[in-house]
Symmetry: C2
């Protein structure tokens, strides 16, 4: 049974028929124009895409006509918009009329395979967690982000980057399994290398729960068909030693924002360096295109979003300032995950792991 | 009493007479040549410096003669050298004959005001902790590093970056007080801005111990004369919002190494960007000096060392690959801290804080 699931998870089997995605048109920094332009861009590449689009009908109907996607788009009128400054708890209490709420409900109702939103991360996360329940056996859902790295795919998967401030060893095992599925289905890596983030001082006793998590993940590696590289350090997150880095949401969030701060200060100092002398100013002019390319590659906003894992539906947070290209990329990811029936495969994997753990606890794992 | 200490801590009072520093000549990547050259460089700027130099006598006596610092240097012959690959626990058991051990003993014996070593960080930390006891009231010592930042001094103090994997709220208070003293005496910031590192999602319940630490640090701010800016995020570590960032050694270590990894990948991608086209190759030539300057400013090795705080003596870890300039900088820091009687002031501060906490627990803090 487990073997069958593993193969299925690796398989390239595509579902026939249209892929329906639920899209929150509002709440992004560039407004619904950018979102609809992104959908048109994505649809141009994949004719089997269909959208349920949530937001203000009068605005959206004009936009979808302009972008010529009326025939593949169903608009759901929502009077309210969740702004970037709304408190998540406020949205949960009062957000029933918002496009974000409606966007998640479409996934909950089963009419769409995945939700995409450029809106307020905290609110989207809280709504997703409360409205879409957790997959059975999952205690803590996680947010996975793509982190620019030297790995062949150009990105590593890091989770949790902020869904929860704590993680027990069993949660970290779930993160490993979820990250593995995500890398396989979203990043096309058949046998992901998974690392568990730890501090580097081997001689010092690490946190006891880290060692327990290490053993749990190590024991699951064979059945779940990933390579466990063991403990990794902060310096490895962006390296090509791993494809997936597992950590609790507190540490992951600090690491993500520390990387963002580091990129900020380097950018600032680079600008200063280029202003230093007439020669360096000429160099700056000549290097302009290269710099733009570099900036795009490591833009913190690109890694600031993420996929919510461990819920009964797939929710993708595109970054708030996404332009049409950014939205199209998020839609492409949603499409890929939907096509591969990602969320059901994830649930199977977690069920298998839970069974394995229980068998292990009963002492018959090796039989 | 507390007021007097605060003033003293801020004061510029310099101790008369020579400043004696204990220096481990061995174990750095560039060998004793770089260390002795660094001492000569530092002594050239401050004639009141004296050194107790630990290492192989035959080698060192030639070097100090060559660098003309024989008259201010006392050599202590040590047959053994701790290498970068030695396990800290092994050094603790078998390192009595090493220059590192001897270097710390000089501080313990009171014949030197501070120790400087370019050697194996883990071994130096373990030896320092075991041989130099903790300051009374301190449960967990910490390693503080200087983190490149946009603050006026160019660096923020971050602690703990790896002395211990855990920290209770009271430990985090001690880190705040130790970091404050360090910023004041080492960085010349009279009223440091202190932040407590947390994950950024305000709406989610932060870890309970973080809130407790927040309240403890907040309550100590007035008496200890620092500005508490409250919770800060990873992105703030390199910002000019704070001078001191307080965190546990697990998170601090991950953050430090994540920043190092981020700098690495940016450097790598920058090189690639400069190779992209003939024009960008010309740009690279013109930008060479600017890039070197930038690299020096954010060199991870510069932030990889640190000061051990909370022990009965001051120990400074210079980076392993320090050249003469690097060693001179570490010596200059040791000299500055020794001159200001840093460690005794730190002990007074911590004693005051402990008294305050106890008074608070007895309900008479506000009287």
């Amino acid at each position: 049974m487990a073997e069958a699931v593993t193969k299925d998870d690796n398989g390239a089997g595509q579902s026939a028929g249209p892929i329906v995605l639920s899209v929150d048109a509002m709440g992004g920094d560039r407004g619904p124009e950018a979102v609809v332009a992104g959908l048109a861009k994505a649809a141009g590449k994949n004719p089997s895409l269909r959208f349920v689009l949530h937001g203000q009908e009068d605005v959206l109907s004009k936009l979808v006509r302009k972008r010529k996607i009326s025939h593949i788009t169903e608009i759901r009128h929502c009077p309210d918009v969740v702004t970037m400054n709304d408190k998540p708890s406020h949205v949960l209490r009062n957000g029933q009329g918002s496009s974000m709420w409606s966007c998640i409900e479409s996934v909950k109702a089963g009419e769409a395979s995945a939700a995409v939103s450029c809106g307020n991360t905290g609110a989207l996360m809280l709504l997703s967690m409360i409205r879409l329940k957790r997959i059975e056996g999952v205690h803590r859902p996680a947010i996975a982000c793509l982190w620019p790295s030297l790995s062949p795919s150009g990105f590593n998967v890091v989770l949790d980057v902020g869904a929860d401030v704590k993680a027990e060893p069993r949660d970290l095992l779930h993160y490993a399994l979820m990250g593995c599925s995500y890398a396989r289905n979203g990043q096309e890596i058949s046998r992901p290398r998974i690392g568990l983030l730890n501090n580097g001082t081997e001689e010092h006793k690490g946190r006891a729960e880290m060692k327990e998590a290490h053993d749990l993940i190590s024991a699951a590696a064979k059945q779940a068909d990933f390579e466990f590289v063991g403990f990794v350090e902060g310096v490895d997150i962006s390296s090509d030693r791993v494809d997936v880095v597992v950590t609790d949401g507190f540490t992951g969030n600090v690491a993500l924002k520390t990387a963002e701060g580091t990129a900020n200060i380097i950018k600032h100092l680079l600008k200063e360096a280029f202003k230093f002398s007439p020669l360096s100013r000429i160099a700056a002019l000549l290097a302009y295109t290269s710099m733009k390319r570099l900036q795009k590659r490591i833009d913190p906003r690109r890694v600031n979003g993420g996929v919510f894992l461990g819920l009964t539906g797939t929710v993708i947070k595109s970054h708030g300032s996404a332009d049409a290209t950014g939205v199209a990329a998020a839609v492409h990811l949603a499409e890929k995950l939907a096509q591969k029936d990602f969320n059901n495969r994830l649930a199977s994997r977690l069920a298998d792991a839970t069974a394995l753990l229980e068998a292990d606890a009963n002492g018959d794992a090796e039989t």
